[in-house]
Symmetry: C2
Subunit: 168 residues, 2 copies
């Protein structure tokens, strides 16, 4: 049993806020995803891989690094990278290191450049500007605290074999 | 082009907060999901359907009502309900109305009752108590504003055929 401050159940206000958060999160995600798909033919998963690769110094990352960045499981990553390679967005490259690298192609770079301004504008309109700078800063801080707390928990209480982020 | 207050790009602080939020959201979701699966054999999708049905007055909902509540697409809903029916968690019932109803079974009700306290305790430990009451209340309000704004946008600017929530 987890050690909690007020017993496990959420009171009415807590429950309401938690559900509002879940609904917002899903509504926003669906909205952003729908526009990416409709206007640029990219899924949220495509977008995420392309953002990570395009922001890496060399335009190349190993699959396990992408796995760490996205928190996807190995099999999902492997299948999705194969589909993206067939569509010409990425390329698997052999290199001297043990594991091949995943490189963004010119086509992939063009795709992410084309959709980035509209995507950023939607994030601003439907998230950043509604929070406003002060509340957004607080959200960022609390978010970092939550990630740190889950990280500590996983380091001590969750067996590593269920982490899904093995380096392969 | 979307009408925005400061141009489309996010500045460094905004970008940082947005990414912290995305990482928190994914880390928390993965964490809750992993424990549901490991301790109770339920996926996040199973849990979501069972929560909705168990909280409905009669323990029954139409598929399109579940679709509205979860914002899943029709095909995902249909496939997932079939899998849950095979596992005995729900039952599709013919009734006098045009569309069959989805009912939670005794087994489904037992499953949701078994996992709910541990799930609530995790939501408290890794989310509610880290926000604290004041910041949580603000998050709830901003979340409602975002959902309302996206709703208005979809009512006026998004063609209904892409909403994925048709009543069938």
């Amino acid at each position: 049993m987890v050690c909690v401050s007020k017993g496990p159940w959420l009171d009415e206000d807590e429950q309401q806020a938690w559900r509002s958060y879940l609904l917002m999160n899903r509504t926003l995600e669906t909205h952003l995803e729908r526009h990416l798909q409709r206007e640029f033919g990219l899924s949220k998963s495509d977008f995420e891989i392309l953002v990570n690769l395009s922001e890496s110094e060399s335009g190349r990352m190993r699959a396990f690094e992408l796995g760490r960045a996205t928190q996807w499981e190995k099999s999902r990553m492997s299948h999705h990278l194969s589909r993206m390679e067939k569509r010409g967005l990425i390329r698997k490259e052999s290199c001297q290191a043990r594991y091949p690298e995943i490189a963004i192609t010119e086509e992939g770079m063009a795709a992410i450049k084309a959709c980035a301004p509209a995507h950023a504008a939607r994030v601003r309109e439907f998230f950043v500007d509604i929070f406003g700078p002060d509340r957004l800063a607080v959200l960022g801080e609390v978010s970092d605290d939550i990630v740190a707390k889950i990280g500590q928990h996983c380091a001590t209480d969750c067996p590593p074999e269920v982490s899904g982020l093995d380096a392969t």
